[in-house]
Symmetry: C2
Subunit: 195 residues, 2 copies
DNA sequence: CGGCCCATGTAAATAGTTACATGATTAA
DNA sequence: TTAATCATGTAACTATTTACATGGGCCG
């Protein structure tokens, strides 16, 4: 279970309550990763039962009480063992990334669409990607100028690089479809055009 | 449910039986996407009940019988509607890709590891990535020389480009860690805001 | 006052994995 | 003869999503 490790990872930086794990001030991983209440709260309970984390309830007069969770020794051990181990770092099988990307997935079947429809789809995706790059670049510059730690800057950098690669490819796709589309293939061998 | 659409997409190319969807000759998407029997067979049954696909049993003397599924009009309609629609093509939220990538995920916490351990991890990942690139390049060249349709070539191309970007970044990471490592001993307090 | 943010949860459904079960053909 | 491949499936479990339920505080 990976969500478990994300929670442990978050709690390695100090205690946090459920809501803050999703949207609070600590590391916003869970929130931005899109965990939902229906999974988070039961999982916190289970991890407590398993002895990986423990909680103290913070009774507050203004606002609802908070259940502050902190990582236990067992949890820390589990986390480090996960971090050290090589599990999940194996080579991706060929089309793994396609399945994880709905747009890419759809691209597999673009030949069932009119050419114009494909181009429209690709252009929309180009716009999305450009916006995302912009967002990442802003975060990247901001983190750099504020002297954030290199590790986190590098991770944002990777996200940015990835989106830039995506944009490059999308533009190739657009060109491809504008030159008659890749659907009617084979006969004309323009094999040498791409590297 | 996305697996449903993958099955519909596969059947858009013509009928197939369960086993061939996983490992057969057509598009090996499902097999390479890693679907498992426990999901595939019940899903095929459900989709049949829902009227998206239909089956004919092919009784064979040599070898087990095959349940050949074909897409129905309702299934075709559902598929085209999914393909045309924009659902799932929205902009990725910031750390989506990290969560989908166990290695990246671990990278977030590399500061809890000894520098040497991090470098080792990164180098192993570099080796994996180089092997993957090699694999993609071979597939790409092969598909090109055999006159495959452009669409599928382009998709393999994207996979390749992505891995190349990954390699680039991994090498940056390696350098980063060799130059003392990005693990600052200094301000950890500002970690919170952006990430 | 109405709606959003904070903060906790539960219930029900869907999705996906792992393990098991069967039985025939084919290749080493 | 043993193992792998072909081909189907079920059962039990785990993971995830969606929807609901609660209640105080804050803002316009």
């Amino acid at each position: 279970m990976s969500t478990k490790h994300i929670i442990l990872g978050a709690l390695m930086n100090g205690p946090a309550h459920g809501y803050s794990l999703k949207s609070g001030s600590a590391i916003k991983v869970l929130g931005e990763f899109g965990i939902n209440d229906g999974q988070l709260y039961p999982l916190l309970k289970k991890m407590t039962d398993d002895g990986l984390i423990a909680k103290e309830i913070e009774y507050r007069e203004s606002g609802p009480n908070r259940h502050n969770y902190h990582i236990t020794d067992a949890g820390r051990k589990e986390f480090i063992s996960w971090l050290t181990g090589a599990e999940g770092e194996e080579r991706a099988f060929r089309y793994e990334m396609i399945r994880k990307d709905e747009f890419l997935n759809k691209c597999m079947y673009l030949r069932f669409l009119e050419n114009a429809g494909s181009v429209e789809k690709i252009r929309k995706q180009i716009a999305e990607t450009e916006a995302t790059i912009d967002d990442f670049r802003k975060a990247y510059d901001n983190m750099n100028s504020r002297g954030f730690d290199r590790l986190h800057i590098m991770i944002v950098r990777y996200c940015m690089m990835n989106q830039e690669t995506r944009l490059l490819w999308l533009k190739e796709m657009e060109t491809e479809f504008l030159n008659n589309g890749p659907v009617e293939k084979k006969k004309k061998k323009k094999l040498n055009r791409m590297i």
